[in-house]
Symmetry: C2
Subunit: 333 residues, 2 copies
């Protein structure tokens, strides 16, 4: 811990603490050049650095926000985080990132911890498993923004992808390429997690739009750990899908593993389009067609919404901001 305090600087410069404080906060308006210099010197020779903790206690704000992601393994999460950090840094805010690992209890712990640390606001990719907590924050008008997932019946600004459109882009593209038997697989649907549900719904709707049947055996939402056998079952059918949509990046990895193990040539035996970009989309063989989320814009918007809340207080909350996905056609389709 740094030991030198404002008092020592004041003593050395022969001024009072409050004068030093003014100097620190750039309020030199009524300060003589001379005192300014004396303070400057004292700070320099003493190597003084102001203590944020004390400042925060006094000012009742830490200039820090918390970000809690449901699962940091998703590329999307890391991209949004970077974007939030960049935006907040420009506004003089720090950000503390936590990973809830899709576990509501961990999420609760982090929310409590972060609030105990007096962060000025929270951006969360909600697990959805802490309704009471979310509600209590809304009631207290605590600055809060959700990302990626909608929580029903809680009035919190939420920014996320137009997920149905993402699936539609994928399906339309596949159909334009001549595929008719199209399947989709994604991570578990059990907890009704927004992007997964919406993407599956979008998938079904798009199939309907094209008057194609939705076969129960051709889509699924299962844990990553069960994906392998789900795929095996799906492709053990006499007429398996000719094309598959990966509901997210982690799912894409599993499909790729499966395709390799099953020796399925892409795209000849199995066409693939992934929702969410993956780092190796371009260099994979074949390069992977994906639907990318505008992660940068999403993060920035979340940051803007949150900082507005912390600066101006809550208002207009409960809005949902949708962002448009983009299809990047490569060679897996």
């Amino acid at each position: 811990m740094k030991r030198v305090t404002m008092a020592e600087v004041a003593a050395m410069a022969n001024v009072s603490k409050s004068t030093v404080s003014q100097y620190i906060n750039n309020r030199f308006e009524y300060m003589s050049e001379e005192t300014k210099l004396r303070i400057e010197n004292a700070i320099e020779t003493l190597q003084y650095r102001p203590n944020y903790v004390a400042k925060s206690l006094k000012q009742k704000q830490t200039s820090t926000i918390g970000v809690i992601v449901a699962n940091i393994l998703h590329t999307f999460s890391t991209q949004v985080i970077r974007s939030i950090e960049d935006f907040c840094r420009e506004s003089g805010f720090h950000v503390i990132v936590c990973n809830a690992d899709d576990n509501p209890e961990a999420e609760k712990n982090y929310i409590d911890m972060l609030r105990a640390k007096q962060v000025d606001g929270l951006i969360v990719f909600p697990t959805g498993g802490n309704m009471e907590l979310y509600e209590s924050m809304v009631e207290e008008k605590y600055p809060l923004v959700f990302v990626d997932r909608i929580v029903k019946d809680v009035r919190v600004d939420t920014v996320l992808l137009d997920n149905e459109r993402a699936s539609e882009l994928a399906v339309d593209h596949l159909i334009s390429k001549g595929y008719r038997r199209i399947g989709m697989i994604t991570t578990s649907l059990h907890r009704n997690i927004t992007p997964r549900m919406e993407r599956i719904n979008g998938f079904k709707k798009s199939l309907n739009k094209h008057s194609l049947p939705v076969r129960e055996s051709d889509y699924a939402g299962v844990e990553i750990s069960d994906m392998k056998q789900t795929l095996q079952r799906m492709f053990a059918q006499s007429d398996p899908p000719e094309a598959l949509i990966a509901g997210n990046d982690l799912t894409m990895m599993e499909i790729l593993k499966f395709a390799k193990a099953a020796n399925l040539a892409i795209p000849d035996q199995l066409a693939l389009v992934g929702i969410d970009d993956v780092s190796f989309s371009e260099i994979y063989d074949p390069p992977l067609t994906t639907v990318r989320q505008p992660a940068f814009e999403i993060g920035k918007r979340a940051g803007e919404l949150l900082l507005r809340q912390v600066k101006e207080g809550r208002q207009d909350e409960g809005r949902v901001y949708r962002f448009t996905p983009e299809l990047i056609i490569r060679s897996s389709t």
Copy 2:
């Protein structure tokens, strides 16, 4: 900001603040069951949550450490971070992660910021560009641990890979597979960054060990942005390398891009081994042979060393802890 304070709880429970404080900190030894219950109730109905900022100010410790990585784009960094976080959480410490983006100035800003926030210690992947700062921290006996890179002439505990051994593993393997013309490419060597230098040195030494010549035209350390043309030049030779070692994960991506563009079959026309694992090693076609770092152990050790310093004060500093790499043979060689 949460408004209810300890004083209100005390008032409601008809006890003094200090009694509430004791309760909060689980020091019930001398507390009657009855007061305990009253306090419990008061806390519950008031929804009281202690303010960490105030506590930190008083106790002169935040139970928070900072981690500054040189470049978060490396998979290795993210793995080490997770490992540090897991370890610290178990010990009741929080961690704040910052990315210096290989920029010494950004690093300095983060170090200053984190110290102003009174973090109890720092784990840094040093850029190497802030000697005075590092030295001043050593002088102040500020808890500090370096990861991945050695900074000359600064007595700071450092944990990193046995980089020369990593290259040796790669070279030995390649040679055992019959390759003789072996090259290596990695990111810029300009700033003498430890892992890069050591890996290149290990590469040369291993070649010597096998009595193979080290050809200037077969290895290079260049910025990611220049890698493409460096590779083009290297492979424009009449007798280009038959095998290439990627100095790190980002480099591997570039080589893969190049190989794809140049239509080089792996491993037939070009064998590849990467130092650092990449997410898609297993599913790439062909699966990539890599040398992996024990990132989990490295992070854990860094956490242990730092927490020991914060708890027991600095001592024994300046030790270098080397970890052994592991060769994972897949099919790119």
